[in-house]
Assembly symmetry: D2
Homo-oligomer: 367 residues x 4
């Protein structure tokens, strides 16, 4: 129960350190006969990879993924799918300074105390490099969900205090195309420009800044999520909070819902023009009692600013003595542009897992 | 993997419906030789029980807990501990109206669709009555943690738009004593008065309102939490989001952290007056890289307004036809006063589980 | 991970001690809409209950089961099913002698050392009384399997050195009727008589004797069992070995298969008269590569003699000093007659779990 | 829950097919600071690798293992340890004949039916090649156990009807040295010679034969194993039954115990010359009530003959029509010599897992 696995029926286990030989993931539980589009998986990794623009870290990794098992003649076979992503551009000497000194708001101090040993190079296992493995696995989950008509999409909805206006998603592919037109991955072009300029200034100051990602799940069938502890939003929340630098999660009305009256907040059920039941509002964020209700699932994820800044900071060393440290290495001034595919990947893993789990809620209709 | 269990090493499984014979919980994995203070467990249940004041539901349940197994001569034996809480004051006829009609923003619609059958009486399994079982198990977890010096405390930090000022907790017992002086469980007396008056007005209008609970964990040792998916805050987040009516979770700087610069947000390490390492600020909320750093753990939980209001509302019936429904039964105008012990219980379950998990992070010092 | 749960998707957790207030079980993951025949569940418990004949223990327990949750109007609802069986006829003073003295080949010594504390009355948690909870849960699993046409049946195939001839099962109900005609639960009447006389003599000598149970699963569909660790026979093996007093498990050709040549052992595939594929022989015991192949599943379980005998025996006390102990309390001279429903129950739990697990092996045919 | 993981706290997940690019394993939960002796791990793999003698398959694989993560400067760091073993000598065309025809007593038929697709090359995932990953992980578990003084050793105790005499193990290293002097891995030299000659004759006849492996665990501390389902012998049984070709498992008195009287079978406790409690006999096989009692743990594993023989056999094809098949490819005439390190590896994984689990049975002595 060491915490490197996620999901119950669509279950992934990741491994690898920032400056080790490779990172990777095993996916256990993907149903057989799914078409595996390797180009799609690679394209998702490309959205997360470092060095993609002036507002991301300049570490150069191609993040080329290789499938080692579980796929035969282009289809899944029901056996575990291992994916490997070699590390290429480690510059471990950039990290000599943090061998015995703890970087503020990093995981150096806690790993050292928990394990009595740590791979300090590039943050070792605590590096967000690990999320590349999640994106690879999540891309496969997305392919599974797409085969069932379910679509997941996210974008950057704030950087610092710059908020994007609410978006309405009609066609997911068009939305993604619009979002990918700018390097900050905000679907509103005017706000995107403002965000980019702000991040670039922050970067020039050797500083970093936080932001938020908003995510939407379309065509999720009614019934996903398990009472009482594995509520769909509880699982989404855990998934998002497990992403490096995330400090908050809310769905539907979220924190602002705590300020509302019941008479304002209740989502009224109606029969829609297709004869299906839907709700007039969606303060429930597509989830009621922990189970999807067929409306779009909506949630938001808050990221703190990256801890590595290019300024000198006070800290302590391994013996607890005062020390000074200044940021080296190549780092992101703001993580949210690269976090968009990670948020989507983790959401896909949760939905795929619960789609499988829900298949056992009822007996088969007839036998 | 049906979702009624929580925790890995300190693992609970709950059962029971709102209007069934009883609810209960099995705790598997509690270490042997813990002193079981049944009075303390009962006192925690008393803080959650219905009918305790004018601003809670008037359903009358004594919520008397009985231990069926796992305790011998007042101590745990290492075997599963079963706790039973009989239901006493069901008024199932109050729920005849929702047999075939879906209450807005309730779980009626989603349960019916997921399972093709549901116990509609009092919300069945989706009722917050289930949380009594969590409070009983959480009280045992608190006893375990207390034996290790770890303390957990929460209070109501907002109701609607009424926010309590930030609190500083010196002595946990004193803080709880202060909090228990008012029926809304806010540690700031002046704000408490304002909140109570507001909730009472909302109740008289047949409406409901949301609120927030803030929670603090003191003396948590360094090292709890598992990379990468079972980060301590990810597990706390899931635990809180699994509580009925919760729509958001944040820790440390939370959502406001997404608006900050790294140079503002970083928590500087210093050697404190005891010679231990601590941080000057606590935007990290006591958790770095998913692992506790020895500072107080701090998080906030947002609750939406209760869905049952005493007004007529539009909805649909089981056939999807338009229908009208109005609230019956006995309900809370605002859940946060009764949610305080539930938040504490779930936090205790997470910390107890990770305290056990962390015992295996390293080899024993010598052999 | 304390070991009181079994199964992944059809998951049970048992609790309770021999001389506590009650024992019980929670079943989590049973699909909704299954008809619950409480009389059938009780009739299975009756086959395991003590005091049913002269060759079983004379402890008197009605073992009346009560369902506390998860069933509404006679059907499962998809929520956890709690079953409770009160203890009625504890005679704890019979066990005063083993408070500080370890009974040979019992679990007294190991529990005391593992936990530093133990409920010595009637063996506490290590008592086979716990298996009543398994039989209750297994009876529900049997109802689930019966709804899918799958049937499970066992009988006593040896007592000491008395072996029953191989049986051929045509109609399961007839087989059970025949088996239930004698108190030893062997389907061969002549052997049964011999066994009963032998056990009765052993009992009169204050001694005990071992035996074997053979089990058959009919109409199990092809495809149950998961590679590579959760092979169907590995899960059946674990299930059987977890029953008190079991010392061995074999399926198909079993231990004698280790003496055979491949040319003798291979099961030749043929198209049978129904046009289905079957095998001419069944040395594979219905399982190939860990997955059911549609042939009857066959396995055997070896039980050691009960440890409590009515003779004085040497032993040590809690301080390790030499002591003498003689059997008190009411005990079985041979467990296999009462083990038959336990073996069936555990087999049903494994098959139900894997029937659910297999529903996710492939994508749905069309969407 | 797809079945490719084993263990709870020392948890492994394997991947890979016989003729894919590589096989491998992730170990999650190994405590930090263990010295990793890569040469020892490789030496264990060498004992399992194909082509090592005239009585094993002639497939040539160096089975060179590479550690990709989780080890830093020669020590474990507490993060997941990934090990990779490339496949080198696949001859997939040897398997063209079984694309559409099911080999008798193989997993072809069951995999095809379970998944609707299969990698037929070399048996795909059902090949015993997967066990190399287990041996690599098991070698790490052995290093962990060795650091605690626990030792595990097995040897071939029968081939066909040739039984080795009982062995007494004084020094484990000497025992292994003796065992490794012959290619059949039987510790009794005279019997070994007989076995080798027999296997060689069987091989020349194009046939195969079964056998048994006996395993011993020395210096296992008292207290390992969890009641009630995760009894130590139940977990060992599952582990062994999950190895390809295993048809039976027994511990201590095993199947012959079912023929004994209680007065013969009970193991009398005595204080031994070191002042520790031990038992005069060991029919319990070192395990009482599912928990280790400090005596040597002893069990036996029965392997059926390899299914691939060099004779023509009747079978059916994918359409269920009669067909003929004859063995091609390179296969073992008898698996037990190569199974010895696999049995040891699986035993080590079980004991390491339960050693970790038992660390949480009691509260720490003082705080």
């Amino acid at each position: 129960m060491a915490g490197n696995s996620f999901g119950q029926l669509f279950r992934i286990t990741t491994f690898g350190e920032s400056h080790g030989e490779a990172i990777g993931v095993i996916i256990d539980g993907c149903p057989a006969q799914l078409d595996v589009d390797l180009d799609y998986i690679q394209s998702e990794l490309d959205k997360r990879k470092p060095g993609q623009s002036k507002i991301t870290t300049q570490r150069k990794e191609s993040d080329t993924v290789k499938i080692l098992s579980g796929v035969f003649e282009g289809k899944t076979t029901g056996t575990p799918i291992a994916m490997l992503i070699p590390n290429e551009d480690q510059r471990s000497k950039d990290y000599n300074h943090n061998t015995n000194v703890f970087r503020p708001s990093h995981a150096d101090f806690t790993y050292q105390n928990k394990y009595g040993i740590r791979d300090h190079r590039g943050g070792g296992r605590s590096s967000a490099r690990e999320t590349a493995a999640r994106v690879a696995a999540g891309a496969l989950a997305k392919l599974l969900l797409k085969s069932q008509g379910i679509e997941i999409v996210a974008h950057v909805s704030s950087v610092g205090k710059i908020d994007a206006p609410n978006v309405f998603i009609n066609d997911v592919d068009e939305f993604i195309a619009e979002r990918e037109k700018n390097i900050v991955r905000c679907a509103d072009p005017a706000t995107a420009e403002e965000m980019i300029e702000f991040i670039d200034n922050v970067r020039k100051n050797g500083d970093t800044v936080g932001g938020k990602v908003s995510c939407y799940i379309k065509n999720c069938p009614v019934g996903l999520g398990e009472p009482v502890f594995d509520k769909l939003h509880a699982e989404l929340g855990k998934a998002m909070l497990s992403i490096n630098a995330v400090h908050g999660f809310e769905f539907g009305s979220g924190f602002s819902g705590s300020e509302m009256l019941g008479s304002e907040h209740n989502d009224i059920f109606v029969k829609n023009h297709l004869g299906d039941v839907s709700t007039l509002t969606n303060f429930s964020g597509g989830i009621q009692g922990g189970i999807s209700n067929g409306m779009p699932i909506e949630f938001r994820v808050a990221f703190k600013p990256v801890a590595t800044i290019m300024h000198a900071q006070q800290t302590v060393d391994a013996e607890g003595n005062a020390a000074e440290i200044s940021g080296k290495g190549r780092h992101d001034p703001c993580v949210v542009p690269r976090a968009v595919p990670i948020v989507e990947a983790m959401a896909a893993l949760v939905i795929a897992d619960h789609w499988l789990r829900d298949r056992n809620s009822q007996l088969p209709v007839s036998n």
